[in-house]
């Protein structure tokens, strides 16, 4: 059995990553033979923000079609070819990236990459497959038509990013889906799946040389350049606004937010710590203690920092009885204001750093999670050694940093709020 390159004792994630050059980009490889499988993840740097006007959902639809027939294999034959060998190939789109994922047993590596090549280089985009995917996306939208989470999310985004792709419905609307034509999908595919900007990672039972050959085989036939619509950077709008969606349900679902930071802003890690103190997923978070523990207003309340390629924001949410929605929002606003003016305590800072540092390892315990995380880092513009620097960056955050950044994020800012339900007093 092959042995992977050994990592130095008790240390480095980065040392286990081999950057493999092929097809004009790097694939980050973690070679490991413990389980006889390979996970390969990649992303093209373009996403649903490329949807043509009025054709929201087109990129999401394209993503569903890569595995619905390729080359000489129609949809059924392609799925059978995958299933015959338990190969998993899937695609998805988020706002900024078009993702692909492959997972295979070692004995079927060649077949798996062969099918991936077909899907990327020669997707058929057959009319009946398009109609089938359109119908599935439509059915999903219908199921969500009265779902409070979906409604409140959409209202919030539309207000936060008017006149910008980030404010549009990435999975389409009942109006836009019928307008998408095969020529739209073909055009998007030609412009978006290229070698111009690819992040990729492989984890498992494969060596660098074989990986390079397979990646070359899959991606070399793709164009070297993209013709993407440029997406401008944008700041969150709508601060201080409250959007109400009337829904006859006993609970109010609330979404709130403020402008945030770009991923490479020098204050970003301090902001991560501040957000963790406020509404990170632990029972000691301020929002959890005040909203759930003390007042029993909600089952869960949380907040997070979001960094898209062209916007950064802070957002959070909760669900509560209609009669207590106004109170819940008031408590949240009060806690944010308190944190802005006083910052975290030394004890909170200490605990937050311990959590953020200790939890990092938990991101790397399955091949698919590792591959996904490596692609994420690459697409955000980080080098491999960031894997070893990251914990130190958290450790370096001082109390003064958090006080300053809490002010920077929250002081004197009015939340953008969206609520679905029949909240009293709002």
């Amino acid at each position: 059995m092959k042995k992977a390159p050994a990592a130095p004792e008790g240390s480095s994630y980065a040392a286990r990553v081999q950057p493999v050059e092929a097809a004009g980009f790097q694939t980050w490889l973690v070679e490991d033979y413990a389980v006889p499988l390979v996970a390969f993840d990649f992303a093209f740097s373009s996403g649903s923000s490329q949807d043509p006007d009025g054709k929201e959902g087109a990129v999401a639809m394209l993503a569903t079609l890569f595995d619905e027939g390729a080359g000489s294999l129609d949809s059924e034959a392609f799925h059978q070819a995958l299933d015959d060998k338990a190969i998993e190939i899937s695609f998805s789109a988020d706002r900024d990236l078009l993702h692909g994922r492959l997972k295979t047993l070692t004995r079927h590596i060649d077949a798996a990459f062969g099918l991936l090549r077909a899907a990327l280089v020669e997707p058929r985009l057959d009319p009946d497959a398009i109609e089938r995917m359109r119908a599935q996306m439509t059915a999903n939208l219908k199921r969500e038509a009265k779902d409070p989470d979906a409604l409140v999310g959409r209202a919030w985004r539309e207000t936060a990013f008017p006149n910008h792709p980030y404010g549009r419905a990435a999975r389409g609307t009942l109006d836009s889906l019928p307008r998408i034509e095969r020529s739209d999908l073909v055009g998007l595919r030609e412009r978006m799946s290229t070698r111009a900007s690819v992040a990729a990672a492989a984890v498992g039972a494969i060596d660098a040389e074989r990986l390079a050959r397979l990646v070359e085989g899959v991606f070399a036939p793709l164009p070297a350049t993209s013709a993407l619509v440029s997406v401008p950077d944008v700041n969150l709008a709508g601060m201080g606004q409250r959007k109400l969606i009337d829904l006859d349900v006993p609970q109010a679902t609330i979404r709130f937010g403020l402008p945030g930071l770009a991923r490479h802003d020098p204050d970003y890690m301090a902001a991560v710590v501040v957000n963790h103190v406020l509404g990170g997923g632990v029972f000691s978070a301020r929002l959890f203690k005040e909203v759930r523990e003390k007042r029993g207003l909600a089952y869960s309340v949380h907040s997070q920092l979001v960094t898209h390629a062209h916007a950064g924001f802070f957002s959070g949410g909760t669900s509560t009885k209609n009669e207590r929605a106004a109170e819940s929002l008031a408590v949240i606003e009060e806690e944010i204001e308190k944190l802005a003016s006083e910052g975290p305590s030394a004890d909170e800072l200490d605990k937050a750093k311990k959590y953020l540092i200790g939890s990092y390892a938990l991101r790397f315990d399955t091949s698919t999670k590792i591959a996904s995380h490596l692609v994420h880092l690459q697409s955000e513009g980080f080098p491999v050694d960031y894997l070893d620097r990251r914990n130190q960056e958290i450790a370096n955050v001082t109390l003064e940093d958090t006080r300053r950044v809490a002010k920077r994020l929250f002081s004197q800012k009015k939340l953008l709020v969206a609520v679905a339900g029949r909240p009293e007093g709002l």
């Binding site: 490991d32 413990a34 389980v35 006889p36 499988l37 996970a39 949809s75 059924e76 799925h79 059978q80 299933d83 015959d84 060998k85 338990a86 997972k103 047993l105 089938r132 119908a135 599935q136 439509t138 059915a139 219908k142 199921r143 038509a145 009265k146 006859d248 349900v249 006993p250 609970q251 632990v282 029972f283 000691s284 029993g296 089952y299 605990k351 311990k354 959590y355 953020l356 540092i357 200790g358 939890s359 990092y360 390892a361 938990l362 790397f364 315990d365 399955t366 091949s367 698919t368």
Partner: protein, 411 residues
């Protein structure tokens, strides 16, 4: 992997995975919502919440704060047949997790002060998507009190009724030694409680449930059959149902998808699944979402035709092989995730299976024959064994009933 038993009856399973310095620590109790005493529905889930309320040594919130401080994750869940508590942390902290978990197995504080507010919260969760059956009926939850909780805790939360599953960057000796030092100090109570649930009589009549609601935009059809589980089936019987579920509705190459979505285009989605890890007889689900303009009755009839086709004419070798390949590959893919493996073993051991059953599962799946799969469809997917459900927008339910009679006449 390794298996051991402590003197007090606690069973332990160790699943090594040295690829990341992380450990998953789980304790499973052999009791779930199906073990709720008559009139006390919701008590298993209720106890799950009470387990977070603190002990004499560690006040409420200390355990969770500890896990958070270590950068870990924790959660708990109550299912029909088991209740489980787990944490994932950097591996060097396994010992302290065992100490806390063993402490709350034995020393939970169940005063009125602690129990009463939780009843209020329990009513709040009636809106949470856990689903009413496990959570209990509202009128019964409201009556659960301290004595109920204490009686349940004393009966079910004992070392002989528990299984410890530890997966990750650990070895047998280390886990066993830490377990002796923590769980090992809890005296055994005696024999684990016998789990005697009222058994479902053999179903003799098909039932139709129609629900119409103004929040439903996308109608759907479901059918659920009462079938044997891994625990109750004859040898090979559960495996045949597992293969049948995948073949009928496990993805785009399945019979239901092919016929209803691709060929006839009367559904936008269709599938099937088998809930085999169950102590008693269990559920085999089939579902479909109609394409616009297709009635649920027509869709339901088509679902029935696909199932009947398998029952009458069996399955081809290539589709059988494909289904088996997929299921066996799932076992390999599961090795990639310490948490997934831990759950697989925990669910199996609390629903009447042994460690060796889990290990030999791929071989038993591989041994399934086309004949056994056809036999399973014929015997178990018979309409009198099923409940069919139609979920409709408000106002359409009456059309449904009338159309079904007409459709049945042609079935």
């Amino acid at each position: 992997m390794a298996h051991f038993r402590l003197a007090n009856g606690l069973e332990g399973v160790v699943i090594p995975d040295h690829r990341a310095p992380v450990v998953t620590h789980m304790i499973w109790y052999r009791n779930g919502s199906a073990d709720d005493p008559q009139g006390k529905s919701g008590i298993a889930h209720f106890l799950e919440h009470l387990m977070f309320k603190g002990t004499k040594a560690h006040k409420q919130g200390h355990f969770s704060e500890l896990v958070a401080e270590l950068g870990g994750q924790e959660n708990a869940f109550t299912s029909n047949d088991y209740t489980a508590y787990f944490q994932r942390v950097p591996k060097e902290h396994l010992g302290v997790l065992m100490e806390y978990e063993a402490d709350r197995m034995k020393n939970l504080v169940l005063s009125d002060e602690v129990v009463a507010p939780e009843r209020v919260q329990a009513a709040l969760f009636a809106h949470h998507p856990y689903g009413t059956p496990i959570i209990g009926w509202e009128h019964e939850i409201e009556k659960l009190d301290r004595l109920d909780a204490l009686a349940y805790y004393d009966r079910f939360y004992t070392p002989e009724n528990a299984i410890l599953v530890v997966a990750g960057d650990v070895g047998l000796d280390e886990v066993r030694s830490l377990a002796e030092d923590s769980y090992g100090r809890i005296p055994a109570r005696g024999e684990p409680p016998r789990r005697a649930r009222p058994q479902e009589p053999e179903p003799r009549a098909h039932r139709l449930v129609t629900l119409a609601d103004d929040k439903v935009e996308q109608p759907s059809q479901q059918r659920v059959y009462l079938v044997p589980s891994y625990a109750t089936a004859a040898p090979g019987g559960a495996e045949a149902l597992e293969v049948l579920a995948h073949l009928l509705g496990g993805g785009p190459t399945s019979r239901l998808y092919k016929s209803l979505v691709m060929d006839r285009k009367i559904a936008v989605a269709a599938g099937a699944y088998y809930m085999g890890a169950s102590l008693d007889q269990t559920r085999f689900w089939v579902y479909a979402l109609p394409a616009p303009g297709v009635t649920l009755e027509a869709l339901d009839a088509a679902v029935g035709e696909v199932i009947d086709e398998v029952a009458r004419h069996g399955v081809a070798e290539d589709e059988l092989t494909r289904a088996k390949t997929r299921l066996i590959a799932d076992a390999v893919y599961a090795q990639d995730s310490q948490a997934a493996l831990a759950r697989w073993y925990g669910a199996a051991l609390t629903t009447g299976s042994q460690v060796s059953d889990v290990q030999q599962w791929p071989a038993r799946i591989d041994a399934s024959t086309a004949q056994q799969v056809q036999e399973a469809a014929r015997t178990w997917l018979a309409k009198p064994r099923a409940v069919t459900g139609f979920l409709l927008p408000e106002g359409e339910e009456d059309e449904g009933a009338a159309n079904l009679e007409a459709a049945s006449a042609h079935a």
